[in-house]
C-alpha cells in the first residue's frame, strides 16, 4: 500500500507547491547522473534545442518588465502616443515569441523524456525476463513492481519538467538580478536583501515538517497495515465476536495518526502564507523605498513598475528551487534503484556451441548433485539416480525435504553447486537453456494463470495450437467439463492469477496447458493437490495417458499415484533415503513401508 498522495490524472495546471515528505537522497549522484545521460545522449539534439528554447523564453520574459518601464517613462509620461504604439507592438511580439518558445521547450522535452523512459522501461522488462529465480526469491514482487512503475514515473517527471524548471528558474533569478542592477542599484539591493530571509525561513519550515512527516508516514503505515490485516481476516473477528476489541485497538492507532497528521499538515501548511508574506514585504519595500527615491528624482516611475513585476517573477523561482531540487534528487535515487536491477547478474548464459535438439529421449541422470542457497544449509546432499527414457519417477518425502528442488534443478531454474545432471548422456548445462525448457513440461505446485481468456491460457503451452487442439488438451486434463459451464466457455476472461476461478480449476487449466505443450520430459509438482479426490481420479487417467512414453517426474501426496511409478525415491533432509519400486520398498520395511502401513491401519 503506498501512502504517497497518488497523482491521478494530471491537469497541466499544477505547479510544484507543497512537498511530499522526506527527500530520498541518491547514493552516488554522479554515477547515476552520468548513466541517465548515457540514455539521454541519443536524444541530444532534442536536449540542445529544448535548452535553447528555455534560454530564449527566459530572456524574453525578462525583457517584458524592462520594456514596460521604458514605455511608461519615455513614451507615456512624455505623451508620445505614436511612439507608445510602436513600442507596444514590439512588446506584443516579445510576449508572443516568449509564449511560443515556452511551448516549444515542453514540446521537445516531453518527447526526449518519454522516448528515454520507453527505452529504460523496455530494458528493465527484458532484464527481468533474464533474471534468475534467485533474484525473485530475494526481492519482494512489490519492490520490483515499484521500481518498474513509481521510480520510472518519477524519473519521467524529473526529466520532462524538473530539468526545464530548474534551468529556467536559474536563468530567471540571474537574469532578473542583472536587469535590476542595470536599472537601479539601490532598489536592486533593497529587493535582494529579502532573499536570505526567504531561504532561511523556507529551510526551517521544511526541516521541521520533514520530521513531522516522517512521524505521520510511520503512523499511517501502521494504521494501514492494521486495516489490511483485520479487514482481510474480518470473518475471524465476526466468528469469534471480537469486534469491540478490534475497534478499540483501531481507535488507538487512529488517534495516534490524528495527532501526528495534525502536526505534519499544520507546519507544512504555513509555507504558502509565509511565502506570500515575504512576497508582499518585498514588494512593499520596493514601492516604499522606490517612491522615496522617486521624490528625490533618483528613480523613475517606470523603474518602480518594472521592479514590482520583477520581484513577482523573482520570488517564485527562489521558493520553488529547493523543492525542485528535492524532487529531482528523489528521481535520481529512483533511477539508482532501477539501475540496481539492470546490474543484477543474469541467468546462466549458454556455453559456446551449446546443443539444441529437436527431440529428447528423456534419459536423466543425477550424479552426486549438491545444492544450497547458503553453504551452511545444504538443501540437496549427494543426490544420484538414473531415470531411463520413458520411466515414471515418483518423489516422496516430507515437506521441505528437497523434492521440489530436484525438479527445479532439472529444468535449470537453479544450477547444481556440485555434481552433474546428465540429460540424454550430455551435461544439462551443455544444452541451450531455451531448447531445454522447450522440451520440459511443468505443472507447478502454485500454478499461475495470466489475465486473458481460458483459451489463451491453455494455448500458452503451444502458441501455434489451433482451437481444436486447445479443446482436446482441455478434455484430456478433464478441464473441458467445467470450462463449458463458464459464462463464455473458452472465451471467459480470467483475472490476473486466475483469481476468479477456484484453485482446483486453475490446476486443471495448468494441466491442460502442459498437455498441449507435449513435452519430452514431464514434471508434475503436486499438480492435483487442490482438486477433490473424485475429480482427481478422472484427471489421473488423463495424466496416465500423458505420461506414457515420456520420462515423467511426479511429486504427489496421494499414494495411489506413487504406487504405479517405475521408480520411487524417498527423499528426506536432502538425501535419497530409499530407492526402488513399490514392491521392493514395501519388502524393505523402511521409511516408505512404514508410511504406507500407518495409513493402512486407519
Amino acid at each position: 500500500m503506498t501512502n504517497e498522495p497518488k497523482q491521478g490524472t494530471r491537469t497541466g495546471l499544477e505547479r510544484n507547491h507543497g512537498f511530499r515528505g522526506p527527500v530520498v537522497k541518491p547514493k552516488d549522484q554522479k554515477a547515476a547522473l552520468s548513466r541517465i545521460w548515457s540514455y539521454l545522449r541519443k536524444q541530444r539534439i532534442g536536449i540542445v534545442l529544448s535548452t535553447l528554447f528555455v534560454i530564449l523564453s527566459s530572456i524574453l520574459s525578462l525583457l517584458g518588465p524592462l520594456y514596460i518601464g521604458i514605455i511608461i517613462d519615455d513614451y507615456i509620461i512624455p505623451g508620445d502616443l505614436s511612439g507608445t504604439v510602436r513600442m507596444l507592438i514590439l512588446l506584443g511580439a516579445i510576449y508572443l515569441a516568449s509564449s511560443i518558445f515556452m511551448w516549444l521547450q515542453t514540446f521537445v522535452m516531453v518527447r526526449v523524456s518519454l522516448k528515454t523512459i520507453q527505452r529504460l522501461r523496455k530494458e528493465l522488462f527484458e532484464k527481468i525476463q533474464r533474471l534468475p529465480l534467485s533474484v525473485f526469491d530475494k526481492r519482494q514482487s512489490g519492490d520490483l513492481m515499484s521500481r518498474m512503475t513509481n521510480d520510472i514515473d518519477n524519473l519521467h517527471m524529473a526529466l520532462s519538467q524538473s530539468i526545464i524548471q530548474i534551468v529556467s528558474s536559474l536563468f530567471t533569478i540571474i537574469g532578473t538580478a542583472i536587469a535590476m542592477f542595470y536599472m537601479n542599484w539601490i532598489l536592486a539591493i533593497v529587493s535582494l536583501i529579502i532573499i536570505p530571509l526567504v531561504v532561511y525561513v523556507t529551510k526551517q519550515i521544511i526541516k521541521r515538517s520533514s520530521v513531522n512527516y516522517k512521524a505521520r508516514q510511520r503512523d499511517l503505515g501502521q494504521l494501514n497495515g492494521y486495516i489490511e490485516e483485520t479487514i482481510s481476516n474480518a470473518n475471524i473477528i465476526t466468528l469469534f465476536g471480537r469486534e469491540q476489541e478490534t475497534i478499540e485497538q483501531f481507535k488507538k492507532a487512529n488517534e495516534q495518526l490524528r495527532t501526528s497528521a495534525l502536526k505534519a499538515e499544520m507546519v507544512s501548511g504555513f509555507l504558502p502564507p509565509i511565502n506570500n508574506f515575504m512576497n508582499n514585504l518585498g514588494i512593499g519595500f520596493i514601492i516604499g523605498v522606490g517612491a522615496l527615491l522617486a521624490v528625490n528624482e533618483l528613480v523613475t516611475v517606470g523603474v518602480i513598475a518594472a521592479f514590482v513585476t520583477y520581484s513577482r517573477q523573482f520570488f517564485r523561482p527562489i521558493n520553488q528551487l529547493s523543492n525542485l531540487l528535492n524532487t529531482f534528487q528523489s528521481a535520481i535515487a529512483g533511477a539508482e534503484r532501477v539501475f540496481e536491477i539492470l546490474d543484477e547478474q543474469e541467468e546462466v548464459r549458454d556455453v559456446q556451441d551449446a546443443i539444441a535438439k529437436d527431440q529428447f529421449d528423456g534419459d536423466v541422470e543425477f550424479r552426486n548433485v549438491e545444492f544450497y542457497y547458503n553453504a551452511d544449509k545444504p538443501i540437496l546432499k549427494n543426490i544420484s539416480f538414473h531415470a531411463k527414457a520413458g520411466e515414471t519417477i515418483a518423489l516422496v518425502g516430507p515437506t521441505g525435504s528437497g523434492k521440489t528442488t530436484i525438479i527445479q534443478l532439472l529444468n535449470r531454474f537453479y544450477d547444481a553447486k556440485q555434481g552433474q545432471i546428465m540429460i540424454d548422456g550430455e551435461d544439462s548445462t551443455s544444452y541451450q537453456l531455451d531448447n531445454l525448457r522447450d522440451h520440459i513440461g511443468v505443472v507447478l505446485q502454485d500454478t499461475y494463470l495470466f489475465s486473458g481468456t481460458v483459451r489463451e491460457n491453455i494455448r500458452y503451452g503451444k502458441l501455434s495450437a489451433t482451437d481444436e487442439q486447445v479443446e482436446k488438451a482441455a478434455k484430456i486434463a478433464y478441464a473441458h467439463n467445467f470450462i463449458k459451464y463458464l459464462p463464455q466457455g473458452y472465451d471467459t476472461m480470467l483475472a490476473s492469477g486466475g483469481m476468479n476461478i477456484s484453485q482446483g480449476q486453475r490446476q486443471l487449466i495448468a494441466i491442460a496447458r502442459a498437455i498441449l505443450e507435449d513435452p519430452d520430459i514431464l514434471i508434475l509438482d503436486e499438480a492435483t493437490s487442490s482438486v477433490d479426490t473424485m475429480t482427481e481420479v478422472h484427471i489421473q487417467k488423463g495424466l496416465n495417458n500423458l505420461m506414457k512414453g515420456r520420462t515423467s517426474f511426479v511429486i504427489a501426496h496421494r499414494l495411489k499415484t506413487i504406487e504405479n511409478a517405475d521408480q520411487i525415491f524417498v527423499i528426506k533432509d536432502g538425501t535419497i533415503l530409499e530407492k526402488g519400486n513399490h514392491e521392493t520398498l514395501m519388502m524393505k520395511k523402511g521409511f516408505y513401508a512404514n508410511l504406507q502401513n500407518q495409513l493402512q491401519v486407519q
Binding site: T11, G12, Y75, I76, I77, G79, L81, G92, S98, M102, W103, F107, V110, Q118, I128, S141, L144, M145, N224, I227, E229, T230, N233, A234, I236, T238, L239, F240, G241, T246, R258, L262, E265, G269, P272, I274, N280, G284, I287, G288, A291, V295, I304, R312, V396, G400, N411, R437, I440, L444, Y448, F450, S451, Y460, T533, M534, H557, L559, K560, L599
Partner: protein, 579 residues
C-alpha cells in the same frame, strides 16, 4: 454530490474551525488585493506631489497589510488543517466500526479489497479535498472576483480590457482542463494495462521460464509500452499549450491596457499609477483563475471517494439482534429445517432444501465435493449468513432469537482458510478466549497436535507470527486455527476442512483429543476425506447443495451409491501422505 453532502455531519464538531478558516482566508486575500491600490496611491498622490510624509504612511500601511495577511493565512491554514484532519479521522473511525460489524453478505457485497481502499486512499483523498476546499477554494475565486472588483474601483477606465481578457481566459482554461482530463484518462487506461502486465510477469515468472515464453512476453510488453509512450507524448504536448497560452492572453491584455492607458493619460483622464495597478490586478486574476480550476479538479476527484464512503456507511447491516434476544447459552441441539440459501439474489442456490437434526453432544461428519455447499451450510450456525428459506434451530429455538454475542460465544469455528494474525501464538489463541491460563493454552495446543512444533520454537507460545503467518506451513496454520477454536471449550465445535494439510497420523490424534476433550459439545467435521469423518455419529453427504444421504458410515455404505463411490476412490491406499 448529494451523497457526499451527507458527510457534513462529521464537520459539525469542527464547524467553528470550518467557518473560521475561510473567513481568515478572506482577510488574507483582501490584504493582498489592497496592495496594488496603495501602489497607485503612492505613485499618483505621493510621488506626483513629492509628499514624503504621505509615502511613508502609505508604506507603513503596506507593511501592516502584509502582516495582517500573514496572520490571516496562517490562521486559515491552521483551522483548515484542524477541520480536515479531525474530520477525516472521525470518518475513518466510523467507517471502520461499520465495516467491522458488517455481516458476511455486506462484506461480499463490497469485496474486502474495496473496503480496504475506502478506509485508506478514499479517506486520504477526502482529507486533502477538505483542506483544499477550506484554503485554496476560497482563495482562488476570491482573488479572481476580488481583483475584478478592485479594477472597477481603482482603474475603472481600463475595465473594458477585462471584458475581453477574462472570458477568453476562462474559456481557454475550461477547454484545456476538459481536454487534459480526456487525454490523461486515455493515458491512465494504458498505464493500468501496463501495470497489470508487469505485475503478472513478476507473479508468473516461474511459468514464463518453464514454458520459455520470454520472447512472447517481451513482445506483448513492447506493444503496451509503445502505445503508452505515444499517448503520453500527445497528452503532455497538448497540455503544455495551456501555460504559454494563458500567459499570452494576459500579456496581450496588458499591452492593450498600456495602449488605452496611454491614450487616457494623454487626455489627462487617468494617471500612470492606475495603469500599474491594473497590470498587477491582471496577474492576480490569472493566478486566481488557475488555482480555482486546479482545486475544482481536486474536489471533483474527491466526490467519488466521498460517495463510496457514504454508500458503505449507509449499508444496512443485514444481520442484527432481534428484540429481547435469548442470552442463555444453548446446550447444542441443532436442527436445519428446509434450508435454502444463495449468495446473490438471483444467483444459483448453494443450499437446496436441507433438513437434518442433531442431538447435543453428537459428532457430525459432512462430506462432499469442493463447491458442494458444505462450508456454506456451516456458516449458517454463527449467522455469518442468514438463510433465505427454512429455519435453523438451536435447542428448538430459531437461531435469530439468540443474542448474537451469546450465539457466537457458544461456537468454536475453525474455518477452511486458517487465517491467523500477526501477533504471538498466545495472542492468536486468546482470540478464541481472552482470559485463559497458560495451562489452557498448552492443552489446546496439545489437542490440535500444534504443541509438537510450538515447543520447538525458541520462544514457544510467545513466538510472533508474520502477517499471513507465512513463516508457518499450511498444516501448522491449520493446527493453530483449531487450537483457537478448542480453547473456547465451545458448545458447538465446527471444523471446516481443517485437516487437509495435516498428516494422517496427527489427524488421528486430533480426532481422539476432540472426543475426549469435548464429550458434551456438538461437533461438526467438514471434510472431503472419508477417513476424517468415518467414525461420526451421523454423516451428511452433500452433493450440489442437496443433502442426498445421511447415516453412519456403515449405513451409508449400504444405502448410498454416491458415498460408496467416494469411499472407493479413497480407500486403503488412497490415504494422504504429508509432513
Amino acid at each position: 454530490m448529494k451523497a457526499a453532502w451527507k458527510l457534513k455531519k462529521y464537520l459539525h464538531p469542527y464547524i467553528f474551525f470550518a467557518i473560521l478558516a475561510p473567513s481568515m482566508m478572506i482577510l488574507e486575500v483582501i490584504m493582498d488585493l489592497v496592495q496594488p491600490t496603495i501602489l497607485q496611491k503612492i505613485i499618483d498622490n505621493g510621488i506626483a506631489n513629492g509628499d514624503e510624509q504621505y509615502i511613508i504612511s502609505m508604506f507603513g500601511l503596506m507593511i501592516l497589510s502584509a502582516f495582517i495577511a500573514l496572520i490571516g493565512g496562517v490562521a486559515c491554514s491552521t483551522y483548515a488543517t484542524k477541520t480536515a484532519v479531525n474530520f477525516a479521522t472521525d470518518v475513518r473511525q466510523d467507517l471502520y466500526e461499520t465495516i467491522t460489524r458488517f455481516s458476511e453478505r455486506n462484506k461480499d457485497h463490497f469485496t474486502l479489497g474495496k473496503l480496504i481502499t475506502n478506509l485508506t486512499s478514499d479517506i486520504e483523498t477526502l482529507q486533502r479535498a477538505v483542506i483544499m476546499l477550506l484554503k485554496v477554494f476560497v482563495r482562488g475565486p476570491l482573488m479572481f472576483i476580488g481583483a475584478i472588483i478592485f479594477v472597477y474601483i481603482t482603474a475603472r477606465e481600463l475595465f473594458s480590457v477585462l471584458l475581453y481578457v477574462v472570458p477568453i481566459l476562462a474559456i481557454s482554461v475550461i477547454i484545456f482542463t476538459q481536454l487534459t482530463g480526456k487525454f490523461f484518462r486515455a493515458v491512465q487506461e494504458v498505464m493500468d494495462q501496463m501495470n497489470t502486465k508487469v505485475q503478472e510477469n513478476l507473479a508468473g515468472i516461474r511459468v514464463i521460464k518453464a514454458f520459455n515464453r520470454k520472447a512472447h512476453q517481451i513482445q506483448q510488453f513492447l506493444e503496451v509500452n509503445g502505445l503508452l509512450t505515444k499517448r503520453n507524448i500527445t497528452a503532455e504536448q497538448v497540455v503544455g499549450v495551456l501555460m504559454p497560452l494563458t500567459a499570452l492572453i494576459v500579456n496581450i491584455g496588458l499591452v492593450f491596457a498600456l495602449w488605452i492607458g496611454a491614450i487616457k493619460v494623454e487626455n489627462n483622464i487617468i494617471e500612470v499609477g492606475v495603469i500599474l495597478a491594473f497590470i498587477n490586478y491582471l496577474m492576480m486574476i490569472l493566478q486566481g483563475l488557475i488555482s480555482s480550476s486546479n482545486v475544482l479538479i481536486q474536489i471533483a476527484r474527491a466526490i467519488p471517494s466521498a460517495e463510496r464512503i457514504v454508500t458503505v456507511l449507509e449499508e444496512p447491516n443485514d444481520i442484527q439482534n432481534c428484540h429481547e434476544p435469548i442470552k442463555n447459552s444453548p446446550r447444542g441441539e441443532v436442527e436445519f429445517k428446509n434450508v435454502s440459501f444463495s449468495y446473490t439474489k438471483q444467483g444459483e442456490p448453494v443450499l437446496k432444501d436441507i433438513s437434518f437434526h442433531v442431538k447435543a453432544g453428537e459428532t457430525i461428519g459432512i462430506i462432499g465435493m469442493t463447491g458442494s455447499g458444505k462450508s456454506t451450510m456451516m456458516k449458517m450456525l454463527p449467522r455469518a449468513f442468514d438463510v433465505d428459506q427454512g429455519e435453523v434451530l438451536i435447542d428448538q429455538q430459531p437461531i435469530q432469537y439468540y443474542d448474537l454475542a451469546t450465539l457466537r460465544q457458544a461456537i468454536g469455528f475453525a474455518p477452511q482458510k486458517a487465517a491467523l494474525f500477526s501477533m504471538s501464538i498466545e495472542g492468536n489463541l486468546k482470540y478464541g478466549k481472552q482470559d485463559v491460563s497458560l495451562q489452557e493454552i498448552n492443552e489446546a495446543l496439545e489437542a490440535s497436535c500444534a504443541a509438537e512444533f510450538v515447543e520447538k520454537l525458541p520462544d514457544r507460545e510467545q513466538h510472533v507470527l508474520s502477517q499471513g503467518a507465512t513463516n508457518l506451513s499450511g498444516g501448522q496454520k491449520q493446527r493453530l486455527a483449531m487450537s483457537r477454536a478448542f480453547i473456547r471449550k465451545p458448545t458447538i465445535l465446527i471444523l471446516d476442512d481443517t485437516t487437509s494439510a495435516v498428516d494422517a497420523i496427527s489427524e488421528k490424534k486430533i480426532q481422539q483429543a476432540i472426543d475426549s476433550n469435548f464429550p458434551n459439545s456438538t461437533k461438526f467435521i467438514v471434510s472431503s476425506k472419508v477417513s476424517s469423518i468415518k467414525n461420526a455419529d451421523q454423516i451428511l453427504v452433500i452433493e450440489d447443495g442437496r443433502l442426498i444421504a445421511s447415516g453412519t458410515h456403515e449405513e451409508l455404505l449400504q444405502s448410498s451409491e454416491y458415498y460408496m463411490e467416494i469411499v472407493e476412490t479413497q480407500t486403503e491406499k488412497g490415504g494422504v501422505m504429508n509432513d
